[in-house]
């Protein structure tokens, strides 16, 4: 690892792979940095692994990832695997850990393509052993072919929930029930966006196909469930919920939750970039222009980390950021860049057409945005929604003060699992807009790094200081 690179791309999902390949094909010298041992990101996780489940289980969309990994393998991109980025600075320094030591490099340009994270779905009992996110379940399926054979319930809403259900069924798994929490009112709101969505009908066709698969397997499909509660004595035993005024209970040993994904903003927050509140997707979006450029010179964004659009949108945004960064680095002529960018932007607009419909249909139910008092919100420090509300009563005006009142957001996850919820609760209690309430200040390292790894930080400048310290002690 050398101290200076031309373009560093963070994240080897569809956006990062596309950005890296595009810029490299324009003549830029590119490193692609990713935490995983192989390319693919979350969506195409383990795509290059021989042990992954077949196409018949994971589907055609997943197989599309192989095209990207093939072009990556054929490119001049230098792919640093198993490398965890834990800090990026406005001066375009990147700090990362690999093989037990830390490294610092400086890049002339950076594309941040670190993807999405699952939206937390807090409700009473969601921290019981046996409850996990659907995304975590999908990782087990993609990397190890693991499928629960009995006692599995899926709950929440959103396309990924149906996809995972279908993948489990194809892999021979059994599903006790799929408990959907999409509020009835969402269907009405979504309807007005339907004509727009039909401009790119592929997404709707796939969704209907997944629902048909569930019906074919006679999976119990509960709709408009509310007031979810996971119960059990030290371990999950059942999911309780209300529907049409009646209480229901389904016995289960594994409960997988999903209510959509949101941009992972830890790096962009740590960079102090401005973030806008997206009222439809109910998430923060780091601000960027049509080319993915941020207000920081040479720092670009692409993919779900900048706003949720899915794998195909991420790939297009990656190409755009790759071209734009190559132009900024001078390896792609401005005139040529403009023509190619225009073509990619037009494809992007087409691909984004179904988004308003999907976002309206799968807008999360308010009961998970600001959950009941007895729900643990911050899992690291075990702070409940009721405690957050009590802090507001004591004069706590924002998410950063809740850290001081009760340590929420101060554990190893750095608020990734509670940040949105804490801000939503404060906004709702104080009747203020989210944009005003704001978000946690994110402190580096954005991924934990050990004292030993930090002590072994390598960089050219520090090498001299190192020697003098050794002489002194």
């Amino acid at each position: 690892m050398t101290g200076r690179v031309q373009l560093a791309v963070i994240g080897a999902g569809p956006a990062g792979m596309a950005a890296a390949v595009e810029a490299a094909n324009c003549g830029a010298s590119v490193v692609l940095i990713d935490e995983q041992p192989a390319p693919g990101g979350q969506i195409y996780r383990a795509i290059t692994s021989a042990a992954r489940p077949g196409k018949a289980i994971l589907g055609d969309d997943y197989e599309n990832g192989a095209k990207l990994t093939d072009t990556l393998a054929a490119s001049t991109v230098d792919h640093w695997t198993a490398t965890t980025v834990w800090q990026v600075t406005p001066e375009r320094e990147i700090y990362m850990t690999r093989d037990g030591a830390s490294h610092r490099i400086t890049a002339d340009a950076i594309v941040i393509a670190n993807g999405a994270t699952e939206r937390p779905m807090p409700f009473p009992g969601w921290t019981l052993p046996g409850v996990m996110t659907a995304g975590a379940g999908q990782i087990l399926l993609k990397t190890a072919g693991l499928v629960p054979q009995a006692g599995l319930v899926l709950a929440g809403s959103g396309p990924l929930l149906f996809l995972i259900a279908a993948q489990y069924l194809r892999a021979g798994g059994a599903i006790e029930a799929l408990v959907e929490t999409t509020p009835r009112s969402n269907y009405r709101t979504a309807l007005r966006h339907l004509p727009g969505a039909l401009r790119t009908p592929g997404y709707l066709r796939k969704g209907l196909g997944l629902l048909a698969e569930l019906r074919k397997h006679k999976v119990r499909h509960v709709k408009t469930a509310t007031r979810l509660q996971a119960v059990g004595d030290g371990r999950l035993q059942a999911l309780r919920f209300s529907r049409a005024g009646r209480q229901h209970e389904i016995a289960c040993t594994t409960l997988m939750l999903h209510i959509g994904v949101v941009p992972n903003v830890q790096i962009t927050r740590a960079l102090n970039l401005p973030h806008d509140w997206d009222a439809l997707q109910r998430c923060w979006r780091p601000r960027r222009d049509a080319d993915g450029a941020t207000e920081l010179d040479g720092i670009f964004l692409a993919g779900d980390g900048a706003g949720i659009g899915g794998a195909v949108v991420a790939e297009l945004e990656g190409r755009i950021a790759g071209l734009a960064s190559a132009r900024a680095l001078g390896t792609l002529e401005t005139g040529k860049a403009e023509a190619r960018l225009a073509a990619e932007r037009s494809r992007l607009a087409q691909e984004m057409a179904p988004r308003p419909f999907l976002d309206a249909l799968y807008a999360p139910s308010p009961e998970f945005l600001a959950p009941p008092d007895d729900t643990i919100v911050c899992r690291c420090e075990e702070v409940t929604a009721g405690q957050i509300r009590s802090y507001v009563g004591l004069g706590c005006i924002g998410p950063n003060q809740t850290k001081s009142f009760g340590r929420s957001g101060m554990g190893p996850c750095q608020g990734r699992l509670c940040g949105l919820t804490v801000s939503e609760i404060i906004a709702s209690e104080t009747a203020r807009p989210m944009a005003e309430v704001g978000y946690y200040r994110i402190r580096p390292p954005i991924k934990p790094v050990t004292l030993g790894e930090l002590a072994a930080l390598h960089d050219d400048q520090a090498a001299a200081a190192d020697r003098s310290l050794e002489n002194a002690s």
Partner: protein, 374 residues
């Protein structure tokens, strides 16, 4: 009703001054540009330390510790203060000789709170420490407190005692008025007979508005906190030969600080970390507590601190104007002094005199490059 004292800066020193003024019968108003404890007061390492202080600060620090031990009497809350002791370690005999000389000098001034310990005593108090250490200075009654809880307790007590605190109110101008001051802010103007400047890293700017000069260097001392581990350390540990402040909290997390500096941008409320400095901190911990190399750091941050060229604060009256007082520039070790300096400011406002020696902290000890005057 008009306040009779306006305090600029809602950190621990401003709130402490407000509380002591309330107790003396005044009706102070605290103006805070962000929220109380947003900067150094709320995010520091929480050390409550007499150990190792500049000799000029020792009388204040000794008196302050009395107040820390009676904190519930002052603010109805113990502020998380735990008298867990503070240890300053010497790794070599040469370092230990330096510490012994310091303790002798301190004794000549009449202070005996710092005690020399040998290698054996050191290890009995800090068993986790690497075996090579030679000894140290031990202050058994010193300790640590929770900074934000402390600021919050003072804040609540000020409000309960008849004082006012206006958050998100930045001072934009200061003018003399008949019988006092007019302070203009982003939320209207206020008038009072007396002005107190406890604006921390912004203290130099406020001093300038009053007509005084103080060369404040805003700095960003960095801290790191680790994941939780089993209890292994009771006192706060510092080092004579290295930059270190080291403490394990009751919840198992470990705080690593001591003074490596990041970069402060006070105008934007921003600090940037310098990982080369944090790397040195990590190397220091690895050298003194080698068993911790695998411990994960979960967070690093820096506060914005006012550092003076001689590393001691400005405390006392304005030299340019009557009825104006300063307490800022605590140079990254003001937390422990908060309770006492507020009382001294209240004494100055009330009587014009002060019960402890503050002459070394006068604002006119610096040369003003603009006028050449001091």
């Amino acid at each position: 009703m008009h306040p009779d004292v306006i305090i600029i800066g809602g950190g621990l020193h401003g709130l402490s001054a407000a509380l002591h003024l309330c107790r003396a019968g005044f009706r102070p108003l605290v103006l805070e540009k962000d929220y109380p404890g947003r900067h150094a007061s709320g995010v520091n390492a929480g050390g409550v330390r007499r150990l190792g202080r500049h000799f000029a600060e020792v009388p204040l620090s000794v008196e302050a510790l009395e107040l820390w031990h009676q904190m519930p009497d002052l603010v109805d809350d113990d502020c998380g203060f735990s008298p867990c002791g503070q240890m300053l370690i010497a790794e070599t005999d040469k370092e230990l000789a330096g510490l012994k000389s310091r303790v002798r000098d301190l004794a000549k001034l009449g202070f005996d709170h710092e005690k020399i310990v040998d290698a054996r005593q050191l290890r009995s108090i800090v068993p986790a420490l690497s075996a090579h250490c030679a000894g140290g200075i031990w202050c058994a009654e010193d300790g640590a407190a929770n900074p934000y809880r402390t600021v919050s307790a003072f804040h609540r007590k000020v409000l309960a005692s008849g004082g006012r605190v206006e958050a998100e109110t930045a001072v934009t101008g200061i003018k003399r008025a008949a019988g006092g001051w007019i302070v203009e802010t982003t939320r209207g103007s206020h008038q009072a007979a007396v002005l107190v400047n406890t604006a921390g890293a912004w203290g130099g700017k406020v001093a300038q508005m009053i007509g005084d000069f103080a060369p404040v260097d805003p700095q960003a001392p960095m801290l790191m906190i680790t994941e939780r581990i089993e209890p292994f350390l009771t006192p706060v540990v510092g080092s004579a030969g290295r930059v270190l402040s080291f403490k394990q909290f009751d919840n198992g997390t470990v705080l690593i600080g001591g003074g490596h500096r990041g970069r402060a941008v006070p105008d934007d409320n921003i600090t940037a970390l310098d990982f080369t400095g944090l790397r040195t901190s990590a190397q220091t911990v690895r050298a003194l507590f080698p068993q911790l190399a695998g411990l994960r750091i979960v967070r690093a941050w820096a506060g914005i601190e006012a550092v003076m060229p001689d590393a001691i604060p400005v405390i006392g009256p304005s030299v340019a104007e009557d009825n104006a007082f300063h307490a800022f520039g605590f140079s990254a070790h003001g937390f422990q002094l908060g309770p006492i300096v507020g009382r001294l400011i209240a004494e100055l406002v009330d009587t014009g005199a002060c019960s402890l020696p503050i002459e070394p902290f006068r604002i006119n000890r610096f040369n003003d490059p603009a006028t050449g005057l001091s």
